[in-house]
Symmetry: C2
Subunit: 220 residues, 2 copies
Amino acid sequence: MGQLDKELLQELLDVSEKELTPKQTKIVQAAIEIFSEKGFAAASTSEIAKRAGVAEGTIFRHYKTKKDLLISIVLPVISKFAVPFLAEQFLNEIFEGEEFEEMDQFLRKVIYNRYEFVRKNTALLKILLQEMFYHSEIQDTFKEIYMEKIAPKYRNLMEQFLTKDQLESIPMETIFRLTISTVLGFLLTRFIIVPDYDWDDEREIEYTIQFIKNGIKGLS
Amino acid sequence: MGQLDKELLQELLDVSEKELTPKQTKIVQAAIEIFSEKGFAAASTSEIAKRAGVAEGTIFRHYKTKKDLLISIVLPVISKFAVPFLAEQFLNEIFEGEEFEEMDQFLRKVIYNRYEFVRKNTALLKILLQEMFYHSEIQDTFKEIYMEKIAPKYRNLMEQFLTKDQLESIPMETIFRLTISTVLGFLLTRFIIVPDYDWDDEREIEYTIQFIKNGIKGLS
DNA sequence: ATCAAAAATGAGTGATTACTCACTCTTATT
DNA sequence: AATAAGAGTGAGTAATCACTCATTTTTGAT
């Protein structure tokens, strides 16, 4: 279950880090598997070492503590999950050439993009989802990225889609909340809560887009 | 933070159980606090005993294992969270006398009702939210209650609100998914993810209702 | 081939874990 | 007052925990 692509892993952890030794990569892969299977607190360093095919001491050569290992795995995922689809390049593709397009287009692009990300990184996101409640470093990183990267860009973007009526009467935070919880609700349901159900993904995505679009349209 | 009302606790655990001794009540209260603060796996029975003002052995008089304690706390919450607002009495209040009313009314009633429940039981629901991923007993109970109690009643109810067009074209599972994830998204955001934000609850609830109603209406 | 630095090892550490059990205390019934 | 049963106790147990460190192995530049 959930074999980890080595290149993908490297890309995830390489954000600003130096390279990992082969054994270090093994350790990180094993840690991701076990953390997501039984949770951080219930995972033991001895089991991680065993599954990585490595002496337990090797873990502590590279990571001062077990929690250090968790943090080094989990923090880069937050950036990778939140930031890229708000990068300039991504936005330009939406507003290419002609007039800016409908909210449909934007939502569809975002959802398909994040769908792929979640599909490839389910284990990592399960860890993140679980541990964010207990580790303030994770919460702080979330807050920082949301406030500095996501909120301002998304706000600008939404203003393009909304009428003057809507902009005056509906608080932007509410629109964020409803949009994000619908999209995350879809992704979590699809990949974490009931992944074994026989979903018709294209159809579900299309319904989700229409639900958000009409839901927001009806608020004013 | 999160002091536990003793009567409320009794009511929760009394579903079909015998009474608890005073010390047992203390144990359950302490366990709820500590489980929700640090998670089940990171909570130690010695700390629970200490906070309950009880010898550690007393815990194991009443519960065979630490996990037994968790399960005895968490399973009744699932029923209490899911079932009551679908009880006959509750539904009768909505369809009282005249014609059946709008979807608005139903959603408003459900949301306010569950809002109060979540407000009073935040710690319990945080435990449930965390541990459902690791304990199959919890998942099974969820599935059972959803399939036997919630889905069939909610299906009947929704059929009252939807036109023939909608009933034929939109799968009911999709409507469930969108509705539930929007409502849970609101409650989780409000009470667990960002409880310290200065929410205007009445306004948010009203927006949430309109969002769902118009979102579904637009699907056909 | 030499050798210094980095990587890896695994036996060993004290602390903590969930759980046991022989025993005492409390309570209610007679 | 006697007694039986359940509630409560807390010292004790083996297992496991995260982490250390003296030592060995691997690596890469010369």
